[in-house]
């Protein structure tokens, strides 16, 4: 659908950029809550039962066996193995470069403040099942956990008919040093990661994409008192391509379609200054679409694609900022000016030779990104998400003697006597010279 931005009222403009409504489904919420309760009560038995029921696979144990692992690895093709190696190397390099530095600062003489970073102990990585394996998601989560130094990296994924996982998944997991792999999926897998079962010790944080059950389960366990943290809110994937009149229509079309083939609810938006380009892209989309294996899904999503024509690139940039896309593809001549004005995106792809699929797979950036306008509020996944920060402070005698009066005045202002007293008692002993530590 071609849209002339300036011909729309403000309300129509907002509607043109609206995401699909997220339905609040009380039935889903109740089902998931029941699943969580059953995992809490019955542990592995419930997990195996759900796997039989929902995945149609009868397992004796939930852990992937060494034999199944070896069998799968022997089946891996050479080309895909080499491709996984390259992607792993780049993702590892970029996330290693994100290693934070501890901070040590004497804020005033004798008052030493430190900020320390450590890896989370145990992380759970959810990898969806389905018709095709997703080794790229294993790499995005597993490599980052490995670089952070997490002690336990726990991968869960629904089993295939061979009571195993795809060779690509297992190989990627091996590269990332993941030695705990469990054959389970859905809300039951999230519940097992959050609460623990006989086989699966609970984790501190849960990462990864999934269907509506998985998403709902992540939200529910994150709200449990003492429950795990989760990565970020989920929403349908989306791309916004910002293109000027000189952009290549075939390239733009291929990027829109990359997004569209993810799912029927995927959002694909072109924003351009050029009506001619918009028309050319529409034609190119029709042409490329006809040859896609996931044509039905992509065609469905493209029904809702928007081709927004603006007065100029400045206005087009404003539209992108209003939308705050997950993936932002910038195919304009003056990229520097555009980048300086573009405010929100999970990840930006610059220039004609940076298709979204580069970042989805192998450039080194993470493909777990905030959707649904959340690039205004949340960060794209990175090394820090697998770490935690805490502070340390050490005051010397002189440090407390200098700072103490200010602390006492503030404690007094807040009516907190005991806070004041904790300083007063120390200063009194120091002044009396009775202590010498």
């Amino acid at each position: 659908m071609q849209i002339q931005w300036n011909e729309l009222t403000e309300a129509q403009q907002a509607a043109a950029l609206a995401r699909p409504a997220q339905s609040n489904n009380p039935q889903l919420s109740e089902q998931v809550s029941d699943i969580i309760d059953r995992i809490r009560t019955n542990g592995d038995a419930a997990l195996l039962d759900y796997t039989a029921r929902f995945d149609g696979v009868n397992l004796a144990t939930v852990k992937l066996s060494t034999e199944a692992k070896a069998t799968a690895l022997a089946q891996l093709g050479t080309d895909v193995k080499a491709a996984i190696d390259i992607a792993y190397r780049n993702i590892k390099a970029f996330h290693t470069a994100q290693m934070p530095k501890d901070v040590t600062l004497e804020t005033q003489p004798g008052v030493l403040c430190e900020l320390k970073h450590v890896a989370l102990d145990a992380v759970g990585l959810y990898i969806p099942g389905g018709s095709a394996p997703l080794p790229s998601t294993v790499l995005m989560l597993g490599t980052t956990a490995q670089v952070a130094g997490c002690l336990r990296k726990v991968l869960v994924s629904p089993p295939n008919a061979q009571q195993s996982l795809a060779p690509e998944i297992i190989y990627a997991a091996t590269l990332c040093g993941i030695d705990e792999i469990y054959l389970c999926g859905g809300a039951q897998a999230i519940a097992a990661l959050a609460l623990g079962t006989e086989s699966i010790a609970k984790v501190d944080k849960i990462f990864g994409p999934g269907n509506s059950y998985v998403t709902e389960a992540k939200q529910q366990v994150a709200l449990l008192a003492g429950g795990p943290a989760i990565d970020m809110p989920a929403g349908p994937s989306e791309v916004l391509v910002l293109a000027d009149k000189d952009a290549d229509a075939d390239f733009v079309a291929s990027d829109l379609l990359s997004q569209a083939e993810h799912g029927k609810d995927s959002q694909a938006i072109l924003v351009t200054e050029s009506q001619a380009l918009a028309a050319a892209v529409e034609l190119a989309v029709a042409d490329q679409l006809a040859r896609l294996s996931r044509q039905e899904i992509a065609a469905h999503a493209m029904q809702y694609a928007r081709y927004i024509v603006c007065d100029d690139i400045t206005q087009a940039i404003q539209v992108s900022n209003l939308y705050a896309p997950e993936h932002l593809i910038v195919q304009v001549t003056d990229t520097d000016t555009a980048l300086a004005q573009l405010k929100y995106a999970g990840s930006i792809f610059v220039g004609p030779y940076s298709p979204e699929s580069a970042g989805d797979y192998a450039s080194g950036t993470n493909h777990v990104l905030p959707t649904y306008g959340y690039s205004r509020n949340y960060s794209s996944l990175g090394l820090l998400d697998f770490m935690r920060r805490f502070t340390v402070q050490t005051l010397s005698k002189a440090g407390l003697q200098d700072l103490g009066p200010a602390i006492m005045h503030l404690a007094e202002a807040e009516g907190l006597d005991a806070h004041k007293n904790a300083v007063a008692i120390r200063l009194a002993k120091l002044n009396a010279g009775t202590r010498d530590a």
Copy 2:
């Protein structure tokens, strides 16, 4: 209550470290959801109505007036002003030192990956009302937002009878460059920050402590599709003091009581190798407690205080790691060894001259910390919480030519044709030499 750790069964040990159960209150949840709905529908009118009803103050407008601000500032005492200045200076210095560095890395020739950090645009800072003002919380949130460079810093707090806020709050806010102050509190203030009203434009993330209504409202708005982010899960405040036989019993007692006076559900735990110290601390607590203004609250909390006696410091450290406290006070002779083994805490206070109140107010560290064992999963509040990260990637022609085949193999493995096609189309044009961008 003195507890000999080794005399307990594992279950009793777990019970000794249990936090108070967080009750799931469906009535609270429904009340808060109604308040959010009314703010959504009626905006300022609903906000003013709730303020009249819950805070007993009839306001004409929700924004703090310039006159009220000036009047309050004129009332501020010199001592407390100077104390706020010192705390502000230290907090600012420590959080400025946390400024992250952008990352730029060529992961392979022609594949440039960048990680960029920018401040969140608009942050909401909730400051509770009540009998005493909390300027320290204004400083912890406001200074950090200011250092990050947030464009809008929005402070909300319930009004006093003078249709204003305490001078300490207003002065701290002024230091932090906060120029949007609104007189509202409770769930209605959180709803206003999340959804916006005629007077208050909505924000991207909401920070700050509050009662059960505020906490519930923060959880609910964070779950709205496209809703704001929130800082971290809330729970009752807590301290664990790790002390050896040479620790000063008066100091330890004063730190336990600092925690206890926060609220009736505050948790205060001593873990020591020395029964004699535990006994001395119990006596010192009784002595100091008798002279506190918030004696009733502190006494209530101290009924549930635990004095845990271990075989040695190594075991005491294990107990601290099991508990994962918000505040961890280390009063042992060999601090280096202890710090190397202590795994979890929101903030650690090292040595006899580092009382909790130093970090609560003025050392420079942030006092917004993970409670309820969340120091395993979450970070103490810092500069990064007021910023967001996104990635940028730029592939050159040669970069895509080198990396392209790996991307295509991975896309093929995942059954995503259009992803493969986005690369193939570009490589075909490059190889044909028909494009030269």
